[in-house]
Assembly symmetry: C2
Homo-oligomer: 214 residues x 2
DNA sequence: CTAGGATGTGACTGATCAGTCATGTGACCG
DNA sequence: CGGTCACATGACTGATCAGTCACATCCTAG
């Protein structure tokens, strides 16, 4: 976490630092991002950065937490707008598309998160997850389990299989959105198309018993 | 390409160098992989490496080409074993699962390729593709176009959508296989389950016109 | 006005890296 | 034997980095 000195900083300066760091970490992998460049960009001395954060890792985790919180806010809002007891697929689409909306606020926040999941060393990723107190991407799998229970997903399909497909689809579009190859609108349309196919594949069919696994 | 001196090397030494380089580049991203470590591991002087290759990039491309050729061999073999005029989904499954078999020969070859697609800088990836004379991942999309023509895929689904789903699914499983989180057998089973769902989602349904996009 | 804690600073340390180059070695030819 | 040529070598260069630290500056409390 940032040290007390950071929260004491005048709003403008803090903003400048966050901005510079976000710029650097969303454009480079953790390893290639340079504190030296960040401090230069923010117009502060290198030593100052160490008044505010323990080290590079600490700064990175702070930013990632910021990004995560903003994204979660978008997702929650989108889901709540759905009203009570939403269908699995409706919820999914709302969540993913809601998350994409983060790109409209600040595409660097989205890019930061996407870079994180591409980060190569799994042990390092785990360390970050622990620091941030997060579980893995098991949420979708839980939703899928509920979906099966409610008869919205074919019981012959393992929840983990459904979750993997959905996760992979959302990552695929999310990466292109963050890379700027897709506009937010295009990304939304693209994911809608994907989820349409997946829904066809996952929903139970009348008159079938569902014996695709095991 | 490697210089002439490299091909003149005694088999054993060449093998040692390839081995050390493969180890390093499959365990680290391009940026973090160290030529110094490779030469140390291979038991040669640093200068010698520059007798064999132009630079780090040259060495990397050489390895990636090796990996690509081996993988393609596995894929071709699997597809040919299918006989003439295979169904889209049969071909797809054979290709992907065939590719996975590379892991049995040398999991580092698979890991190298997977690391490449995770590599962060798109401009850099493009540079490598150009050097190796490869086109993008458009092959699957072409297959999908053929699949639509032959009525194996719902005409309401864009080939690019189908291709994206399939690519994402194979990447998802491939990454875990390369990371050692899945055995080759598990990976094969996992992908079979995924493609099962996708097939249900993509195949035309009797009595439907197919109006999912546009 | 002054003492002292809090905060700002940038030159410095030690590490690592890709790539270079002067020098060394050994094999083969005349 | 001497000369030449292909290859081998590792100390060196210049760059970059995270992180440190002795010192400067500011602010507040007494």
């Amino acid at each position: 976490m940032p040290k007390g000195t950071f929260s004491n900083l005048p709003e403008v300066k803090r903003r400048r630092i966050i901005d510079a760091a976000l710029e650097e970490f969303s454009a480079n992998s953790y390893g290639r991002a340079s504190l030296t460049r960040i401090t230069r960009q923010a117009g502060i001395a290198k030593g100052s950065m160490y008044q505010y954060f323990d080290d590079k890792f600490d700064l990175y985790c702070y930013l990632l937490r910021l990004a995560g919180e903003r994204k979660l806010a978008f997702i929650s809002e989108a889901i709540e707008a759905l009203g009570p007891g939403p269908d699995f697929f409706a919820m999914l689409k709302a969540a993913v598309v809601g998350g994409f909306r983060l790109a409209r606020e600040d595409s660097r926040l989205l890019a930061l998160g996407n870079r994180f999941v591409l980060e190569m060393d799994p042990g390092w990723r785990e360390k970050v997850m622990v620091r941030l107190g997060l579980r893995g991407e098991s949420t979708i799998e839980e939703w899928a389990r509920d979906g099966v229970r409610r008869g919205e997903i074919d019981p012959g399909i393992k929840p983990s299989t459904a979750a993997r497909l959905i996760w992979a689809a959302s990552e695929s579009v999310g990466q292109e959105l963050a890379a700027g190859k897709l506009s937010p609108d295009q990304a939304e349309a693209e994911f809608t198309a994907l989820i349409g196919v997946l829904e066809r594949g996952l929903r139970p069919r009348a008159g079938e018993k569902g014996e695709m696994n095991r």
